[in-house]
């Protein structure tokens, strides 16, 4: 398909062509965007576009069309650029009007700064990072759907790979990882032996260490430690006010990795000496705002699609546009739910109540906010997890297999006192230094409180605990801007595992009561996980994402019934049922209905929710009395 290659491999030619046709009427800009939107709409045209997420940068041709699945980590200041400029060709002495959009650098001839044709335009730069905590399976699956044929650019010489090994260490982990990926998918597809996952396990940390090693030279500002993948400076040309921090986007844009963008350190210092008055940026600032293009490529956005979710198994558009897909999922929803429940019961050592609550937790979602109150969040505290045992780690792995992005935060004293959780504005470098709590919507945050031991929390620790508390209660994170704080609402599913009741607030606490007692815990858990074939897992993944996005209403009739019920319950014992309990009950009822694929609350659903809550509360109370008797 040569046409495809034209607009994918050389989009700037298209832009220039449209610009030339327009005779400098300003609507050419719209035409360009329209053109690419149209092209991308064609059946699966977007899968032909190579993705920065899974193709190493040096395989990609500069100035070609690429896509990038990312989260907006920081927003830089808007910049003015030459939208249209005129060049003087000294040799032929001819003038040419050119378009500077979608470019970092002017082309051809001496720029005539005094030309009357110059048009100054404005654009905004976002610093984007890959979606933090994106699960391996999601990455693989995205990479798998890509049909992009990445032809190594002609300048690419095989041995360059070796030469660049040291300097581009970061990039180098990519192909390796790719190999892993392919091996991983193959192996998991072929065999489910015990050895395979073990091997992956041992490999994972080594990746982390290597990437940590190479990011030390240039901090790419990933929210989570041990993350890898390219960061990107995305130049946005229109509607940048519609984007928000931490938004997940799929950006289609023109890749610009011109080496001229790299300002060599010495040169910079030299210019510093020469001309201190001109320097408006500190060295740190320059490092951040103009990093070498080989590490942080520039992407000139043509079109960006906000991602509601990052589940590759679902179409990325909003679910209502895709009725048949949805109905097919809904058809087998009940069976999938039952299977998932069984699976989770196994993972939770035979505790079916906890499994039930875990499902509710996994599909919870802040669907709205009433003044300051976030609605729909459901933070679960799984108490009764054994202290310092690998159990929580295995539990996390199981969850990681189910959700598209997740992060396990070990609440060890060391972590609490040393980790930067709240993003902070660094004014010298003029950037937002990321923290672990800068996460995209619907990320599962797994707080492992079993790792916490006695000891002193210092000021950072207290701040971190407060931040976690705010996150859970109000679903917001107060970013630290030194002179003031700024509140960023978020939508993060928090799951806390602890021995006793967690020190953090939670919406619901379930005490784990194992009915199975396998002699070798680790073996048992890995066996449970391996027993799930990938297609099965995929079903679970789809189920969770679909259930979370369903709409929900309560009919007037049920409202009445619920009211009656509440009054009735309060009559018997006002203490047992407070407004807060009703809040929780309503959330549980909502999630329970959704988990069964029901759009509306039924009387039956309400009763079930009540039963579930009663069961949970009785268990908690029993637990209290048990622990109370203990010395």
């Amino acid at each position: 398909m040569p046409t495809v290659h034209d607009w994918i491999n050389n989009p700037l030619a298209v832009v220039d062509g449209l610009f030339a046709q327009s005779n400098s009427s300003p609507d050419w800009e719209k035409k360009v965007v329209e053109y690419f939107k149209e092209k991308l709409k064609l059946n699966d045209a977007h899968t032909w576009v190579p993705s920065l997420n899974d193709v190493p940068l040096y395989y990609l041709k500069p100035n070609s069309l690429v896509k990038f699945r990312c989260m907006v980590q920081d927003m830089f200041d808007p910049e003015f650029f030459m939208g249209v400029y005129e060049t003087n060709d000294l040799t032929s002495n001819s003038k040419q009007v050119k378009c500077g959009k979608y470019r970092d650098i002017t082309v051809g001839g001496q720029v005539d700064f005094n030309s009357r044709n110059t048009v100054t335009s404005e654009r905004q730069t976002f610093y984007c990072v890959p979606i933090p905590g994106e699960s391996q399976w999601a990455k693989e699956s995205y990479a798998g759907t890509s049909q992009a044929r990445v032809v190594p650019s002609t300048s690419y010489v095989p041995n360059r790979h070796k030469r660049s090994y040291e300097e581009d260490d970061e990039m180098d982990t990519q192909p390796q990882q790719m190999k892993d990926v392919s091996q991983g998918t193959q192996s998991s597809a072929e065999s489910h032996g015990n050895t395979e996952p073990k091997r992956q396990e041992t490999e994972a940390p080594s990746h982390d260490s290597s990437s940590a090693h190479c990011t030390s030279s240039l901090d790419l500002n990933f929210p989570l430690p041990g993350e890898k993948g390219p960061a990107c400076l995305v130049k946005v040309y229109e509607d940048w006010d519609s984007f928000k921090l931490n938004d997940m986007l799929e950006v289609f844009g023109i890749l610009s990795a011109d080496p001229a963008l790299r300002v060599i350190a010495d040169e910079r210092e030299a210019s510093l000496l020469l001309d201190p008055t001109e320097v408006t940026e500190t060295v740190e600032e320059q490092r951040v705002h103009s990093p070498p293009a080989s590490l942080v490529p520039r992407l000139h956005m043509l079109y960006a699609q906000p991602l509601v979710h990052n589940n590759p198994l679902l179409p990325s558009s909003a679910p209502e546009n895709d009725g048949d897909h949805l109905s097919s999922v809904l058809g087998e929803l009940a069976s999938v739910r039952a299977e998932l429940h069984t699976y989770l019961t196994h993972v939770l050592m035979g505790d079916s109540l906890a499994a039930e609550y875990l499902i509710l937790h996994l599909i919870s979602n802040v669907y709205s906010r009433r003044d300051v109150l976030p609605l729909g969040k459901f933070t679960l505290n799984l108490s009764g997890c054994p202290h310092s045992s690998p159990y929580t780690e295995h539990l996390y792995k199981a969850i990681q297999q189910l959700v598209p992005s997740s992060y396990r935060l070990c609440m060890s004293l060391h972590n609490m006192n040393n980790q930067r959780m709240v993003p902070r504005k660094d004014y010298t470098a003029n950037r937002l230094v990321s923290g672990t709590l800068q996460l995209a919507n619907n990320t599962s945050l797994f707080l492992d409180e079993t790792q916490l031991e006695q000891g002193q929390l210092d000021a950072t620790g207290v701040r971190n605990i407060t931040a976690l508390g705010n996150l859970i209660s109000w679903q917001k994170v107060d970013y630290d801007f030194n002179y003031h704080q700024m509140e960023f609402p978020c939508n993060i599913n928090v799951l806390i595992t602890s021995e006793g009741r967690s020190l953090l607030p939670s919406d619901s606490q379930v005490h784990l009561r194992p009915t199975l007692n396998p002699p070798n815990l680790e073996e048992y858990l890995s066996a449970v996980q391996v027993a799930q074939i990938p297609s099965q897992l995929n079903k679970y993944r789809i189920y969770l994402s679909v259930a979370r996005a369903l709409n929900y209403t309560i009919s007037d009739e049920i409202t009445k019934a619920v009211e009656e019920d509440f009054v009735e319950m309060r009559k018997d014992d006002p203490q047992s049922m407070s407004a807060e309990d009703l809040h929780r009950l309503l959330v549980v009822a909502r999630l329970l209905s959704l988990s069964h694929g029901q759009n509306t609350l039924s009387r039956d659903g309400w009763m079930k929710a009540k039963q579930l809550e009663a069961l949970r509360i009785s268990r908690t109370q029993q637990q209290k009395s048990v622990s109370g008797n203990e010395p």
Partner: protein, 847 residues
């Protein structure tokens, strides 16, 4: 539409062209020669040669240029004596001009001036004639007309309604700026700040020119003002010529709204300083000397670059010119980073920053952390390119050359003025708010718009609403009583889980200057202020805490009961005097903390005990409690109808559609604006009728108790009533407090008292529970025990000493009511206070 960019470019081309066009235009000026002799050529004997070259060589324009711009030429800097006979201009009398680096590339304006300047000069004031048509290239500014207009403005403009701080002490019916000129002649500070909105009301066209061509118009203003000034005060001596500094260009924008069209225009933006650089000496003019013939020449710096003369004009030797640093002219410059103020930002975005350059005396005027309004010229320059490459980074660097700083938070620290936070409302918005205010049920409407997710508690919401508006600020400093507190403090206590925190969070999110702290997590230091050593400068810096930060706002304190005593003690001062005294690390100061406190406290026992008084339930010192105007209990009412409505409300919360939610959000924005508008523009005063009603209310309150022998109201309660009534008047946008306001204040106050000050033993409302920490009945019982004890001791006859335990047992045996050890000890203490006995260790001695 005109893009400013090309505008800018055009101007620059002028400069290039002017080189060619200059000679015919510039007259064989007397001035240039006179000038040359005075400054440049004095040390050298070769001046004639230079003059020759001036007229013969095409390179001459540079020096012609300099002579032309005596108003702003840096040449004159520091050489006043030589300037005296050098300047032909009449009024200015040799006061040196000071270069205006803030106007950027200085030479630009003057050299375009040339087209009109010589004419106006040579025609000696006959601008009305041909002069009128001459405009500065690329603009529509005629120097003569512009000057005249501005002088007329200075001489005639009055602003009788001015409320600006700077104008305090000026006669508002006299021309404002003439008085300021008088001030300048007395104080000798040669800077005149001109409010652009004044110019706009006086002459809209002049204002437009100022905004669009500040670089040309401001020097013209300078000229005008100096002529005027030295006409009036021919003998005054100033450090340098007066500079005009316009401020608050009405095009006030936030940083986000800046766009390419603003380049080279006068803008005012607000923001917060986040970083300042060290002082940068910026070369304004380079001094070159020929190493062959010692011929001197000066080259102005053009955008940070010096065009080094390749050929000596005098001896035609190439590459013989060398820079002499000592004789070059430098000016001070400072780079400041400004960040958008948090209020201006749309949710979910990060703040923008802008680079600002301050020049000369504006250097070091601001510190990081200051909130400022800056007025300046927005500039864009192409990125410096690598000279070896023809490719250019297609990005411009932008910055603002600041002309005027105005700190917006300074006033908060010293003054009473609330103008600083005055939000600009559009006329439609104000009309809409007024329309809302005219509705009879506005009070109910607003209170129901407050925290709609929280169910009922109507009176509490009304109380908080009044708190948001606050009373009228009164100043009795002259009579020695100091400031009266205008802020209303509210305490919410009640069972855990009754959405107190949620209410606090809501209020915190609603008000612009709100702070939210939790009693558990805050220390006295975090609430007040602390002194910190800046690691970089080794300077001691005062860091303010939540209470100071919420000055003019609301400080929400959750878990008030969990606060340590020492922390709570700082609140005493804040809650009545509204100040905060600090004596730490050698810094002794009093900061304003005119903050309303909205606190929430949980009962000491997990549940509210209805058998106990408020004080007993929350265990807070009564000294603190009496500083709260309203204390509300948030209890679970446990009544069926209530439950039903509550359930309905909650269920609705969970299924209401998006649109309904949207509507409410709109309400929140309206509420915000409504409050902001009322706080800044409504200042109700008590009407005669209202004061009468207040007096009656107070007398009534005192009467209630007097029947039972207790005091049921104190002056503090009266003050609370006044504040509440004023706040209610503000809700109605009424400038007078009327009796309906007093009625509502009374009702609310009574309602709150009913909740918090009811004596559980008698069922009566007893204010002494809150003011002394003890109900009257409790006090009565205490007295009874003491009397019984006294009787007991007296019955024992003349025994000088008794055993403590013995006495306790005796008293218990005698009395029919149960006597606790505490009661016994209290009785002993009471008797000791009467000097009847003393307690030493385990023995009780009679006196």
């Amino acid at each position: 539409a005109r893009t400013s960019r090309s505008e800018m470019v055009r101007k620059r081309t002028v400069r290039c062209r002017s080189t060619a066009s200059e000679d015919p235009l510039s007259p064989p000026s007397q001035r240039s020669r006179a000038h040359d002799t005075s400054t440049e050529l004095q040390p050298m004997p070769t001046s004639p040669a230079m003059d020759v070259s001036l007229f013969s060589s095409p390179m001459a324009p540079r020096s012609v240029l300099q002579s032309e711009i005596d108003a702003s030429s840096p040449l004159m800097y520091g050489t006043p004596s030589s300037r005296v006979e050098g300047t032909p201009r009449s009024g200015i009398r040799g006061t040196p001009a000071r270069q205006r680096a803030d106007l950027g590339s200085v030479r630009k304006a003057p050299q375009v001036d040339m087209h009109s300047e010589p004419v106006s000069e040579s025609l000696a004031g006959s601008e009305q004639g041909a002069g009128q048509r001459l405009v500065i290239w690329g603009t529509d500014v005629n120097v003569g007309t512009c000057k005249e207009k501005f002088q007329r403005f200075l001489q005639q403009f009055t602003d009788p309604n001015s409320r600006e701080e700077e104008n305090a002490g000026l006669d508002l019916n006299e021309p404002l700026y003439m008085q300021k000129l008088d001030e300048i002649s007395v104080v000798g500070e040669p800077v005149l700040n001109v409010n652009c909105s004044h110019i706009q009301t006086f002459d809209a066209d002049l204002y437009r020119q100022l905004i669009c061509y500040p670089q040309e118009v401001i020097p013209t203003f300078d000229m005008a003002i100096n002529e005027l000034f030295f006409d009036r005060f021919p003998d005054s001596i100033l450090e340098h010529q007066i500079q005009v500094r316009p401020y608050s260009a009405l095009k006030t924008r936030n940083m986000r709204a800046l766009n390419p069209e603003d380049i080279d225009q006068l803008i005012t933006i607000s923001g917060m300083v986040i970083r300042t650089s060290q002082l940068i000496p910026e070369m304004q003019e380079a001094f070159f000397r020929c190493q062959v013939c010692a011929f001197n020449t000066r080259v102005e710096v053009d955008r940070g670059r010096i065009a080094e003369p390749a050929v000596c004009r005098n001896c035609n030797t190439t590459h013989s010119m060398a820079l002499v640093h000592n004789r070059s002219a430098f000016s001070d410059k400072q780079m400041i980073k400004l960040q958008e103020s948090p209020e201006d930002m749309p949710a979910g975005q990060t703040p923008h920053t802008t680079v600002v350059y301050a020049h000369n005396d504006l250097v070091d005027k601001v510190q990081p952390g200051d909130r400022v309004n800056i007025t300046g010229i927005y500039r864009a320059a192409p990125m410096r390119l690598n000279p070896r490459q023809s490719q250019v980074k297609s990005v411009y660097k932008t910055h603002i050359d600041v002309i005027h700083f105005r700190k917006t938070d300074e006033k908060r620290l010293h003054g009473l003025d609330e103008d600083g936070e005055q939000k600009l409302f559009t006329k439609e918005r104000v009309a809409m708010l007024k329309e809302l205010a005219a509705k009879p049920d506005v009070y109910d409407r607003l209170s129901s718009a407050l925290a709609p997710s929280i169910y009922e508690h109507e009176d509490i919401k009304k109380g908080i609403l009044l708190q948001l508006f606050g009373g009228t600020r009164k100043d009795f400093t002259q009579t020695g009583r100091g400031n009266f507190r205008a802020e209303i403090n509210i305490l919410l206590c009640g069972d855990p889980g009754t959405s107190k925190s949620q209410l606090l969070q809501y209020v915190y999110n609603l008000v612009p200057r709100g702070q939210y702290t939790s009693g558990k997590g805050s220390s006295a230091v975090g609430l007040t202020a602390y002194v910190m050593k800046d690691p970089e400068t080794r300077q001691l810096v005062l860091q303010t805490g939540a209470l100071v930060l919420s000055d003019n706002g609301i400080c929400c304190i959750d878990e008030f009961d969990k606060m340590s005593d020492s922390t709570r003690s700082v609140l005493h001062e804040v809650m009545e005097q509204q100040t905060l005294s600090i004596a730490k690390a050698g810094i002794i100061c009093q900061l304003n903390a005119r903050t309303s406190v909205l606190a929430a406290a949980n009962p000491v026992e997990s549940q509210w005990n209805p058998k106990k008084t408020t004080i007993e339930n929350i265990q807070l010192p009564h000294t603190l409690l009496s500083r709260f105007d309203l204390i509300f209990l948030m209890l679970d009412p446990q009544d069926e109808a209530y439950d039903r409505r509550l359930a309905h409300h909650l269920v609705a919360l969970y299924y209401q559609s998006e649109e309904q939610i949207e509507e409410e959000h709109l309400d929140m924005a309206v509420l915000k604006d409504y409050i902001a508008f009322a706080r800044t523009s409504v200042h109700p005063r008590l009407s005669e009728e209202a004061s009468q009603a207040l007096v009656e209310a107070y007398v009534d309150m005192r009467k209630i108790g007097s029947g039972r022998g207790m005091v049921s109201a104190y002056p503090r309660q009266l003050e609370s009533l006044i504040r509440l009534a004023e706040a209610h008047a503000k809700v109605r946008f009424s400038s007078k407090v009327e009796s309906i306001d007093v009625e509502e204040a009374k009702r609310l106050h009574r309602e709150a008292l009913k909740q918090s000050a009811t004596d559980p033993r008698t069922g009566f409302v007893d204010i002494s529970i809150l003011t002394t920490g003890m109900s009257a009945t409790a006090r009565k019982r205490k007295e009874e025990v003491a009397q019984a004890l006294k009787k007991l001791i007296q019955s024992k006859g003349k025994t000088p000493a008794m055993k403590y335990q013995q006495l306790f047992d005796d008293l218990r045996g005698q009395s029919e009511a149960a006597i606790t050890k505490e009661m016994f000890e209290e009785a002993l203490r009471a008797l000791a206070d009467e000097d009847y006995l003393t307690v030493t260790g385990k023995t009780v001695r009679l006196l």
